[in-house]
C-alpha cells in the first residue's frame, strides 16, 4: 500500500459507499435513481478490487474491474431501454406503481 492510507481504509470506504448504494436501492421509489444506486454499489466493489490488486501486487483485480465496467455499460443500456419502454406503456417511473408482477 502507498504510505499513509492502508488497505483497510480503502476497504472501509468501499463498504460505506456500498451500504449507501444498498440503502438507495431499498429506499428510493424512482427506478432511475434505483439504477444509479446500483451503479454506486458496482463502483464500491471496483474500489475493493483495485485496492486488493495493489495490495497483492497482482493485475488480475484490475482486469476484473475492466469486465465489471463492460457489464455495467451493457446493463445501463438495456436497463434504460427497459425504463423507456415502461414509461411509454405506463407513464410512470415510480416503482410503487409498477406492481404487475407482485403476487
Amino acid at each position: 500500500m502507498p504510505p499513509g492510507a492502508p488497505l483497510t481504509w480503502y476497504l472501509g470506504l468501499s463498504a460505506v459507499v456500498f451500504a449507501i448504494g444498498t440503502v438507495g436501492v431499498l429506499v428510493r421509489r424512482n427506478i432511475i435513481v434505483i439504477f444509479m444506486a446500483i451503479e454506486l454499489m458496482l463502483n464500491a466493489v471496483n474500489l475493493t478490487f483495485v485496492a486488493f490488486a495493489r495490495s497483492l501486487g497482482s493485475m488480475d483485480g484490475q482486469v476484473i474491474v475492466f469486465f465489471v465496467m463492460t457489464v455495467a455499460a451493457a446493463e445501463a443500456a438495456v436497463g434504460l431501454a427497459i425504463i423507456l419502454a415502461l414509461f411509454r406503456n405506463r407513464e410512470t417511473t415510480n416503482a410503487d406503481e409498477l406492481v404487475t408482477l407482485r403476487w
Partner: protein, 164 residues
Amino acid sequence: MTAPVFLLLAVLVVAAALTVVAHPSPVYSACALVVTLFLLSVFFVALDAQLVAVLQVIVYAGAIVVLFLFVIMLLNLTQPESRPTAGVPVVAVAVGGGIGIAALVAAALRRVPPAGAPALPEGFGDTAALARRLFTAYVLPFELTSVLLLVAIVGAVGLASRKG
C-alpha cells in the same frame, strides 16, 4: 496518497454518494454520481490503476451517466417527485441495515492482517500490463464480452424502438 488527502477525498465521496441517494431530483442525483465517479478515479490513480481510472472517467462518468441524463431529459423527469422515498418503516429498516453492514465490515476489517506493500513489477497498472493479462489469461472472457455488448446493443435498440 497521504492520510489527510485520503480522508478529505473519502468525506467528499461519501457526501456525493449520499447526494445521489438522497436528492429528490434525479438530475441532481446524476450530477452527484458524476462527482462520485470522478473522485473514485482519483483513488484508482493512487492505487496504481491508471488505465482503470481513465476508463472510469470515459466509460462511467462519460458514457453511462450521459445515458442516464439523456433518459431523464427524454422522460422529462426534471421535477422532483412528490413522494420520493418508501414509507417510514422501510426507510428506518434500510438505513439501520446499511449502518449495520458498515459496522459489520468495520469489525471484520480489524482482523485483516496488515499487508506489507509488495515490490510491484515494472509498469504495474499501465496499459501494456493490463492488455497483456487481458489478451493472454483472460482472452476468452474478453471475447465473450464483445458478444455481451452486441447482445446488449440489439436488446436496447429492440426494446427502445418497439411501438406501443
